[in-house]
C-alpha cells in the first residue's frame, strides 16, 4: 500500500472539536468562579485559549516533523533527564498547599508530571523497538524498560499526585502489553504494586477517605462524600438535554474543581446525556483512529508511540469520566483536551501532532 500523503483527518478533526469544546466548557465552568477570584470571568478562558493556540501550533509543527527524528538517544534520554530534573526540582521550588506539583516561571506555571507521560512514551517506544523479540527477557528488557517509569512514579507519588502516577503506570502497562510482554509479568507488576498502593491509600488520611467515600458516599455527605455526591447530582440534573450551556448550578462552588478534574460533571449537567455521550464518542473515535493508525504503522517505534499517545489520551479520559460518574474513587486526573490546564493541553496536543505525523506515514 502506498503511504498516505495527508494526515488522518478524523484524528485531526476530533482533536480540534475536543479542544474547542474544552475552551467553551472551561469558560462555562469557571466564569463565575473566575469573576469572583480574579475579577474577570475570562481569566481561565484566556489562559486556556493561549495554551490551546500554543498547543495547536506545537501540534502542527510536530505534524510536519518526521517522527523518526525522535528516534534518537539524544532526544529520548535528554527528555527523560529533563523530566527527572524538573520532577526533583519541584520539591525545592513549590510548596503551595503541601504539594509539589508546579514550576512557576514568570506568569506561567508548568506541571512537570505532565511531561513525564510523553517522556515515558518516547523512551519506551525507543527502548522496546529493538527488543520485541526478547520481551520475555525480564532482566535485559523489562527491568530497564520500567526503570524510568518506577523512578517517575516514585517522584510523582511523593509530590503527591497519585492520579498522574497511576496514569503513567497505565500508559507504561499499555505499551508493554502491546509490545508483547508476557502476561505473568503484568500480574507480577500488579501484585508488586499492591503493597505500595495499600500504604499510599490506606495510610494517607484523605485518600482513605476518598476510597471510603467512593464505596459509600452517603456515609458523610457533607464531608468525604461531598465531592462525589455533588458530581452525581450534577450529572443526573443534566438529564437528556441538559440545563443548557452556562446554566448549570453545580459548578457554582458545589463541584470541586469544576473547570479541571470535574469538568465532565459540568458538561453532563449543562449539555445533558446528548452532550456527554457525544463527548464520549469523540474520545472513542480518537481511540478508534489511534488504534487504526497503530495497526497500519509498520514501523515498530511509530507503532509504540501511537499506542502510548492514544492510550495516554483514552486512559486519562476514561479514568476522569469514571471518577466523575462514581465508577472509580476520586483521583486528580484531568480530562485530556477539555480540562483547564496549560501543561496538559500543550503536551497532549504536541503528542497528537506526533500521532498525526505517524498517521501520515502509515501504510
Amino acid at each position: 500500500m502506498a503511504k498516505r500523503v495527508s494526515v488522518d483527518t478524523w484524528l485531526f478533526t476530533v482533536t480540534l472539536f475536543l479542544v474547542f469544546i474544552g475552551l467553551v466548557m472551561v469558560f462555562s465552568a469557571s466564569a463565575v468562579m473566575a469573576k469572583e477570584r480574579y475579577g474577570t470571568g475570562y481569566f481561565f478562558l484566556l489562559r486556556q485559549l493561549m495554551w490551546a493556540v500554543a498547543g495547536l501550533a506545537a501540534m502542527i509543527a510536530a505534524m510536519r516533523i518526521d517522527y523518526r527524528r525522535f528516534k534518537a538517544p539524544a532526544i529520548v534520554f535528554s527528555l527523560l533527564g529533563i523530566t527527572t530534573l524538573m520532577l526533583i526540582s519541584v520539591f525545592f521550588l513549590d510548596r503551595a498547599h503541601h504539594t509539589h506539583r508546579w514550576i512557576h516561571w514568570g506568569g506561567f506555571s508548568f506541571q512537570p508530571s505532565e511531561l513525564a507521560k510523553p517522556a515515558l512514551i518516547f523512551f519506551l517506544a525507543y527502548f522496546l523497538e529493538s527488543r520485541t523479540k526478547s520481551m520475555d527477557d525480564w532482566r535485559n528488557t523489562l527491568l530497564p524498560a520500567v526503570t524510568p517509569t518506577l523512578l517517575f512514579l516514585g517522584l510523582i507519588v511523593f509530590q503527591p499526585d497519585l492520579g498522574t502516577a497511576i496514569a503513567c503506570a497505565a500508559i507504561t502497562a499499555c505499551i508493554l502489553f502491546v509490545a508483547g510482554m508476557e502476561m505473568k509479568y503484568l500480574g507480577y507488576g500488579l501484585l508488586a504494586s499492591m503493597l505500595p498502593l495499600y500504604f499510599l491509600i490506606f495510610h494517607v488520611a484523605y485518600r482513605r477517605a476518598r476510597i471510603l467515600a467512593f464505596l459509600n458516599p452517603y456515609s458523610d455527605p457533607q464531608g468525604k462524600g461531598f465531592h462525589i455526591i455533588q458530581s452525581l447530582i450534577a450529572v443526573s440534573t443534566g438529564g437528556i438535554s441538559g440545563t443548557g450551556l452556562m446554566e448549570g448550578k453545580q459548578k457554582l462552588f458545589y463541584l470541586p474543581e469544576p473547570h479541571t478534574d470535574f469538568i465532565f460533571s459540568v458538561i453532563c449537567e449543562e449539555l445533558g446525556l446528548i452532550g456527554a455521550i457525544a463527548l464520549v464518542i469523540l474520545f472513542a473515535v480518537f481511540l478508534w483512529r489511534g488504534i487504526r493508525v497503530a495497526l497500519h504503522t509498520q514501523d515498530i517505534f511509530g507503532k509504540f508511540l501511537v499506542v502510548g499517545i492514544t492510550s495516554m489520551v483514552a486512559v486519562q479520559a476514561f479514568i476522569n469520566i469514571s471518577v466523575v460518574l462514581g465508577l472509580m474513587p476520586t483521583k486528580g486526573i484531568p480530562l485530556p483536551f477539555i480540562s483547564y490546564g496549560g501543561s496538559s493541553l500543550f503536551l497532549t496536543l504536541a503528542c497528537v501532532g506526533v500521532l498525526l505525523n505517524i498517521s501520515k506515514q502509515a501504510e
Binding site: V178, G180, M183, A234, V235, F253, Y254, L287, W288, S322
Partner: protein, 780 residues
C-alpha cells in the same frame, strides 16, 4: 458477548476497506475471548498461548496486533460502561438526584406575610407590624462554634451556654437571636461570622402600648396570635406567607431568587374608639388605685348597635413586651370572668315583672323590714326597708322586694327572661375565651334558688353580658348582640363610613316596659344607691350591684370580698352609651354605688362630651358660666358663618334650653313629641364619631331653626391628673396657625376645608393621647 449485539449496528455504518479490516479484527477478538475463556479460565495462560502461537506465525505484526485489538477492546468496553452509566444516571436517576439538587440549590425560605393592621373605628393603628431581623446559625458551617457563640452572646447579652446547647442540638439550623434590635443585628453582621445568617421578620408593634391590650391580645414569636383579636382573627390577620426561593451555592451566597409574593394579612377595624378606650382605661386605673381592687372592668357600648366603644381591664399589660407577661394580666375579665352580679340582676327581675304586667312602678311592696324567710332560709336586706314602691325597690335595691316579685313570676317565666336577656349563653362577641356564665337549669331551681337569683346571687355572668342586659333596656327593650369588629378586610384608612347593621336583634321586653325601666333606673341615680353616677349636663340611669364573693376555700360567701358594680346609660331618653363598671374586691368601701358608680360618672361624662352628645340637663351654675364665657368668645369668631346660623341663638339660650328631661319623661311622652326634637335626635354616630361630627351633627333644617342644644366646647381641665395632652382651641385660627398650634401640642391635625377654623373635634380641653388626630373644619 454483549458486544456482538452491536455489530449489526456497526456494520450498517459506512466504513472503508481499512475500517472493514479493523472491524474484522475486532470480530476476531470477540470470537477469541470466549474460546480463550473456555480453554482455561485464566487469562494469563491463554494469552501466553495465543501470543506464542502467533509469534511463530509468519506475520509477527499480526501477533502484536492481537494485543492491540485486546487493548482497544478493553478500552471500548470501558467506553460502553461509561455510556451505560451516563444513561443510568441521567435518565433513570434523573428525578432522584434532581430532587437532591433542588434541595441543595434552592433554599425555600418562607416569607411571612405582613400581618394585618388593627385599627380603631377612627382609623388609628392599634396594632401594626414593623420589620426586624432575626439571626440564625447553621452550626455545620461554623468552624469554631464555641468562639462564634461567645462573640455573639457578648452582643446579645444572652447566656452563651444556652445558645450553644441549642446549636449543638440541631446541626443545620438554630435561632441565635429572634427579632433583634436593628443595632444588635448590625453589630452581629459586622462580625462577619461564618455560618451566621440573617432573616427579615416582622415584629408586632402596639403603638398605643397598654391601650385595649386585652382586646388586641398579642402575638408569639412566630407571629401567631396568642390572645385577643390577634388570636380570634389570626387567620385573617396573618395573610398567606410567600416563598422566597433562593438559589444558593455551596458557600451559601444567593445568586437569584424567585419570589412568591406573600399575601398581606387583612386589616381589621374594631368598634373601639381610641379616645373612649383611653378615657375608660384612665378612669379605671384611677379607681383601681383608690380602691386597691384586684381587678376591674369597664365596658362602653352603643346600645343601638351593640358596638363596643371601649373595653378596659385592670390590671393590664404592655403587649410590646409580651415575653415577660404574667398570664393573669392577659385575662380579658370582661369576657372570660364569671362573677355574681348582685343587685344589677334585679333589673331583670323587675323588668320581667313589669313586662308580664304583674306589677307597676308605683305598686307598694312590703319589704318586711329587710327580712324574709324562704323555705326556712332567712334572707336579709343590707338595710331594713318598710313599704316601698317597686321603683323604690330598685332604687334602694331591696332584696326582699325583688324576691317577692320573682315569686310572682315563678321559675319558668323568670328563667325565660333571663335567657332572653342573653344569659347562660355566649354573647358571640368576636373575642376568644368567652364564658357563657353560670345559669342553673330551671328544672333544678328550688324556691331558694329563685329567690337568690332574683337578687343576683347564685348566678354567674360576665361583664359583657351585663352590658348587653343594660343595652337591651336602653335600646327600648331590644337585645342586640355586642360586637367589637366592624370589618375584617378593610383597606387602609380613611375608611368609608359604612352603616353598622346590628345582628341578632330580638325584643326582650316591650318598649313601654323599657321606658318604665329607664325611668326607674334614673331614679336609682337620682334618689337611690347610685347617686354618685349623676352626670353634669346629662341625665343618667343605672343600677348598682354589690355581691359577696364566693370563697372557694371556705365554701361560703366571703364577708370581706365583694364585687362592686354599676351598669347604666346616658342620656336617659335616648341613650348614647351604656357603661358597665365592675370593681372586684375593693379594699374598704366596696359597694357598687361607692366604687363603681363614680367610674361610670367620669367615663360617661367624658365620653358623652367627646361624642358631642347634646346636654339634656341643666348644667350646674359654675360650669354653665364657664362655658357661656367661653362660648361668647367663640361666637364672635363664629359670627357670619353661613354654616351655623343657629349657633348665635344657641349660645345665648344655653341657659334655659334643653332642660326638658330634668324630670323623667315616659316613653309615651317622648313619642308624642313633647320633647324637643333635638333631644330625640341625637343618634349616636354610627360609624366614626370624629367623622360624623365634622360632617355636622345637627342635621335636618327644621331643627336648626328651633332651639338647639349648646354645642359642646368641652370641660376645661376637669382632672389635672389626666394624662395626655389638653387639646387647644383651634377656633378662629387660620390653617397655618392651626398647623403650628397642633405641632406645638404634639397633635395630628386633620384639616378640612379652607379659611378660618370654625369647628374642631375633639373639642378644646379634651385630654387625648399624644399624637392623636384633631379634625378641624375650616370655612370662609
Amino acid at each position: 458477548m454483549r458486544a456482538r449485539r452491536y455489530l449489526p449496528a456497526l456494520r450498517r455504518c459506512k466504513y472503508s476497506p481499512s475500517d472493514r479490516k479493523f472491524i474484522s479484527g475486532l470480530k476476531e477478538f470477540i470470537r477469541a475471548v470466549p474460546v480463550n475463556w473456555r480453554l482455561a479460565g485464566v487469562g494469563r495462560h491463554i494469552c501466553l498461548k495465543s501470543v506464542r502461537g502467533r509469534a511463530v506465525a509468519p506475520n509477527t505484526a499480526r501477533g502484536k496486533n492481537t494485543r492491540l485489538y485486546l487493548l482497544g477492546g478493553v478500552l471500548f468496553l470501558w467506553c460502553f460502561a461509561i455510556c451505560f452509566r451516563l444513561v443510568y444516571l441521567q435518565i433513570f436517576c434523573y428525578g432522584e438526584y434532581e430532587q437532591r439538587a433542588e434541595h441543595q440549590h434552592q433554599r425555600s425560605i418562607e416569607v411571612s406575610a405582613r400581618r394585618g393592621i388593627i385599627y380603631d373605628r377612627g382609623g388609628h393603628e392599634l396594632a401594626m407590624s414593623i420589620n426586624v431581623e432575626s439571626v440564625f446559625a447553621v452550626p455545620n458551617e461554623i468552624p469554631d462554634l464555641r468562639g462564634t457563640i461567645s462573640l455573639i452572646s457578648r452582643i446579645t447579652h444572652e447566656n452563651p451556654h444556652e445558645i450553644l446547647a441549642r446549636c449543638e442540638a440541631s446541626k443545620t439550623f438554630c435561632w441565635v437571636e429572634r427579632k433583634a434590635d436593628a443595632d444588635v443585628a448590625e453589630r452581629i453582621r459586622n462580625l462577619n461570622l461564618r455560618g451566621i445568617h440573617f432573616q427579615k421578620e416582622s415584629k408586632r408593634f402596639y403603638p398605643k402600648r397598654e391601650l385595649a391590650a386585652q382586646v388586641l391580645g398579642y402575638v408569639g414569636m412566630d407571629d401567631d396570635g396568642v390572645s385577643g383579636i390577634e388570636r380570634e382573627y389570626n387567620d385573617e390577620l396573618k395573610g398567606k406567607p410567600g416563598r422566597m426561593v433562593i438559589s444558593v451555592d455551596a458557600r451559601k451566597q444567593w445568586f437569584g431568587s424567585v419570589e412568591k409574593q406573600p399575601e398581606p394579612g387583612q386589616n381589621i377595624v374594631l368598634t373601639l374608639d381610641q379616645q373612649i378606650q383611653y378615657i375608660a382605661e384612665k378612669e379605671l386605673a384611677t379607681a383601681m388605685q383608690q380602691t386597691h381592687a384586684i381587678s376591674g372592668t369597664v365596658i362602653v357600648e352603643n346600645p343601638h348597635t351593640g358596638e363596643i366603644l371601649a373595653l378596659a381591664n385592670e390590671p393590664t399589660f404592655n403587649p410590646n413586651v409580651s415575653e415577660h407577661l404574667n398570664p393573669k394580666r392577659l385575662v380579658n375579665h370582661a369576657i372570660s370572668d364569671v362573677y355574681e352580679p348582685g343587685s344589677t340582676f334585679k333589673t331583670i327581675t323587675i323588668s320581667a315583672a313589669l313586662d308580664e304586667k304583674l306589677t307597676n312602678p308605683n305598686e307598694m311592696v312590703d319589704c318586711q323590714m329587710g327580712s324574709i324567710v324562704v323555705d326556712g332560709v332567712r334572707i336579709h336586706d343590707s338595710e331594713p326597708h318598710g313599704v316601698l314602691t317597686v321603683s323604690q325597690v330598685l332604687a334602694e335595691s331591696s332584696d326582699v322586694g325583688a324576691i317577692k316579685l320573682a315569686f310572682r313570676l315563678g321559675n319558668e317565666r323568670f328563667y325565660q327572661y333571663i335567657r332572653a336577656f342573653g344569659f347562660g349563653e355566649k354573647t358571640g362577641i368576636e373575642l376568644p375565651h368567652e364564658t357563657r356564665g353560670l345559669l342553673r337549669p330551671v328544672d333544678r331551681w328550688s324556691r331558694v334558688a329563685l329567690a337568690s337569683t332574683s337578687m343576683g346571687q347564685g348566678v354567674g355572668i360576665s361583664a359583657i353580658q351585663l352590658a348587653s342586659l343594660i343595652s337591651a333596656i336602653a335600646n327600648d327593650g331590644v337585645h342586640i348582640a355586642p360586637h367589637i369588629v366592624i370589618s375584617t378586610d378593610s383597606p387602609p384608612p380613611p375608611f368609608q363610613t359604612v352603616a353598622f347593621h346590628p345582628t341578632g336583634e330580638r325584643r326582650v321586653i316591650s318598649s313601654y316596659t323599657a321606658a318604665e325601666m329607664k325611668q326607674m333606673m334614673e331614679g336609682v341615680v337620682l334618689r337611690g344607691t347610685g347617686k354618685k353616677a349623676v352626670l353634669e349636663g346629662y341625665s343618667s340611669a343605672g343600677k348598682t350591684g354589690t355581691a359577696q364573693k364566693f370563697d372557694r376555700e371556705a365554701r361560703a360567701y366571703s364577708h370581706t370580698k365583694y364585687v362592686g358594680s354599676f351598669a347604666g346609660f346616658a342620656p336617659v331618653n335616648n341613650p348614647a352609651i351604656v357603661v358597665a363598671v365592675i370593681i372586684d374586691s375593693a379594699v374598704g368601701l366596696h359597694q357598687g354605688g361607692q366604687v363603681a358608680a363614680p367610674v361610670f360618672q367620669r367615663v360617661a361624662q367624658q365620653t358623652l362630651e367627646y361624642l358631642h352628645i347634646p346636654h339634656d340637663v341643666e348644667l350646674p351654675a359654675s360650669r354653665r358660666m364657664l362655658m357661656a364665657e367661653k362660648h361668647v368668645k367663640e361666637r364672635d369668631l363664629d359670627e357670619g358663618s353661613p354654616d351655623h346660623p343657629g349657633e348665635a341663638v344657641d349660645a345665648q339660650d344655653s341657659g334655659q334650653d334643653t332642660v326638658a328631661s330634668a324630670t323623667p319623661i315616659t316613653q309615651g311622652d317622648a313619642e308624642s313629641g313633647v320633647l324637643p326634637a333635638s333631644l330625640r335626635e341625637p343618634e349616636l354616630p354610627k360609624q366614626d364619631p370624629v367623622k360624623t361630627a365634622q360632617v355636622n351633627q345637627f342635621p335636618s333644617g327644621s331643627q336648626q331653626s328651633s332651639v338647639l342644644p349648646m354645642p359642646l366646647r368641652g370641660p376645661v381641665a376637669l382632672d389635672i391628673e389626666q394624662g395626655g395632652i389638653v387639646v387647644p382651641s383651634f377656633i378662629g385660627k387660620g390653617l397655618r396657625s392651626a398647623i403650628e398650634t397642633a405641632e406645638a401640642s404634639g397633635l395630628d391635625l386633620d384639616a378640612v376645608g379652607s379659611g378660618v377654623a370654625n369647628e374642631q373635634s375633639p373639642p378644646a380641653g379634651t385630654h387625648v393621647p399624644a399624637g392623636s388626630q384633631v379634625t378641624v373644619r375650616f370655612a370662609r
